[in-house]
């Protein structure tokens, strides 16, 4: 499938409800219960009752939670369509919701994620995208291991420096300081970044997100239905994905050049270029993800990410505001489930002190492991 087929889906679906619970540590609740909390908030935001939702897409979370067979009974619904997407990291779940609506399986779909992995003690002590049977004996643990290799290679090939990388963590923390939902609101300086300890060198502690509990839910429906709901619709202007597991046999695979395939599809699908993006969101479990994706989506040249992010360009008031919520590095981890809610708030004009003036078009770029990528372009 190519851009022409994807373009046929342009503006046919809209996000009409958002629910984001407080983020942090909630040992009194399960992940599934936090997903229900987020669903309730999303219903209230959309101004609809739960019976108007006839599709549910859930996302697995730590501790064998998050299955639709577990969550839908808690919602007290008998939906026409229900699914659990095991790599749900938000973009993928959103696209599946659009597909379900487009195919007639449901009219209005709630996608959701809830996790209590902080309070239930997920140590993230494996390299989940790798095969622990052949990597753990060498001490390869946590995504920081492979991410550090990708950054080191970027530094080697293009001269990227730790001083340049500081801009990502420092900027996102500045954004988080304006976000009531954010877990980390205390700003940091470039010097504090450079003096901070390494997790896996060259990645500093501020280059890594921190585990949190919380819930997130979005309600998606057809554009026609969306216009009668409480909040102004935010339309799905473009969607694209790529799965590239064969790339693990490519010597550059940690650089993830296959992400370009998504870029080649999504801008024609949305009928715009990346110059039209008013606010950009990039999944950021580590700061390496924004560095790579700014390049693969063509916001700068390959290898130029380090210099591109300097001088306030990715900050509020800059040319390309990036992760205005603070991202996973400073707002909350949530497996990337909070970037799209922030994008929707920006497009509705609800972002308060961190509002991007006149934001009309936003984009979210995410990945699943090292070999899966997706992006969504939203407009008001």
């Amino acid at each position: 499938m190519g851009a022409a087929e994807l373009a046929a889906l342009r503006d046919k679906f809209a996000i009409v409800g958002l629910g984001t619970t407080p983020q942090g540590s909630f040992p009194e609740k399960t992940g599934n219960e936090l997903a229900v909390d987020a669903f309730k908030l999303a219903l209230a935001d959309a101004g609809i009752t739960k019976d108007e939702v006839d599709g549910i897409i859930t996302c697995p979370s730590f501790g064998h939670q998050g299955l639709d067979s577990q969550i839908v009974p808690l919602l007290g619904l008998n939906p026409s369509y229900s699914a659990n997407l095991d790599y749900g990291t938000c973009n993928f779940s959103l696209h599946l919701a659009a597909m379900a609506i487009n195919a007639g399986f449901a009219n209005t779909v709630a996608i959701m994620y809830g996790t209590n992995q902080k309070s239930s003690g997920n140590r993230f002590n494996q390299a989940p995208a790798e095969d622990p049977a052949i990597t753990a004996p060498y001490g390869l643990f946590n995504i920081a291991g492979t991410a550090s290799m990708a950054l080191r290679r970027h530094m080697h090939e293009y001269g990227t420096t730790e001083e340049q990388m500081a801009a990502i963590a420092v900027t996102f923390r500045q954004h988080a300081s304006l976000n009531p939902l954010a877990v980390f609101k205390k700003t940091i300086t470039k010097e504090e970044y450079l003096e901070s300890r390494y997790i896996v060198k060259p990645l500093h502690v501020y280059d890594m997100c921190v585990i949190t509990d919380g819930g997130s839910c979005m309600i998606v429906t057809s554009a026609d239905r969306a216009r009668s709901m409480a909040k102004p619709p935010v339309y799905l202007m473009g969607m694209a994905e790529q799965f590239a597991p064969r790339e693990t046999q490519n010597d550059q695979f940690l650089m993830r050049p296959f992400i370009q395939k998504v870029a080649e599809k999504i801008y024609p699908a949305a009928g715009i270029t990346n110059a039209d993006i008013d606010a950009l969101y990039i999944q950021d479990p580590t700061s390496v993800w924004p560095l790579q994706m700014l390049e693969w989506y063509g916001f700068c040249g390959i290898g130029e990410g380090g210099s591109f992010i300097q001088d306030g360009r990715i900050g509020l008031g800059g040319e390309l505001p990036l992760n205005t919520n603070g991202g996973q590095l400073s707002e909350s981890y949530m497996w990337g489930w909070l970037h799209i809610p922030e994008a929707v708030r920006q497009l509705r004009g609800e972002a308060g002190p961190r509002q991007v003036p006149n934001a009309e078009i936003a984009q979210y770029c995410s990945t699943g492991g090292w070999t899966r990528a997706a992006s969504t372009i939203l407009r008001r």
Partner: protein
């Protein structure tokens, strides 16, 4: 107090047993597809290039280069406490495949990407030998 055990590979794994048996003999061997000649790691039933199921385990040179590496300053597993800080590297073998390993015999801070390395074999238990790398002589 006994220190925790480092994770060990399953040397009897259905597909990977020949790799670990060769390591035990201080050889680096990987699967080579008899149909298309593609050399692969990790081991699989079918060749990912042509889907053929026939292969030979061939000896590799053990030579390659460091594609990249990270230096662990945060202890994720207590069994590695005595190794801190330690490197984990992605090794680009001359015959094509990549594998995660450690580069030993060098201060991790002196490693650089593209450094030439060669395989060394570390007998960690009576059954298990790990394939590691050192700067090429």
């Amino acid at each position: 107090m006994t220190s925790p055990q480092k994770p060990l590979p399953d040397v009897n794994d259905r597909h990977r047993a020949p790799f670990w048996a060769a390591a035990r003999e201080h050889q680096l061997k990987m699967q080579k597809c008899t149909a298309c000649g593609y050399v692969r790691w990790p081991a699989t039933q079918h060749c990912p290039e042509c889907l053929d199921e026939n292969d030979n385990w061939v000896a590799l040179s053990g030579k390659g280069k460091v594609w990249s590496f990270g230096i662990y300053n945060h202890l994720f597993n207590a069994a590695f406490a005595d190794d801190m800080p330690y490197d984990v590297a992605l090794i680009q073998l001359d015959e094509g495949p990549q594998m995660y390993s450690n580069v030993v015999g060098i201060d991790p801070d002196l490693l650089v990407p593209d450094m030439r390395v060669e395989a060394v074999f570390e007998d960690v238990t009576p059954e298990v030998t790990l394939v590691k790398f050192r700067p090429a002589s």
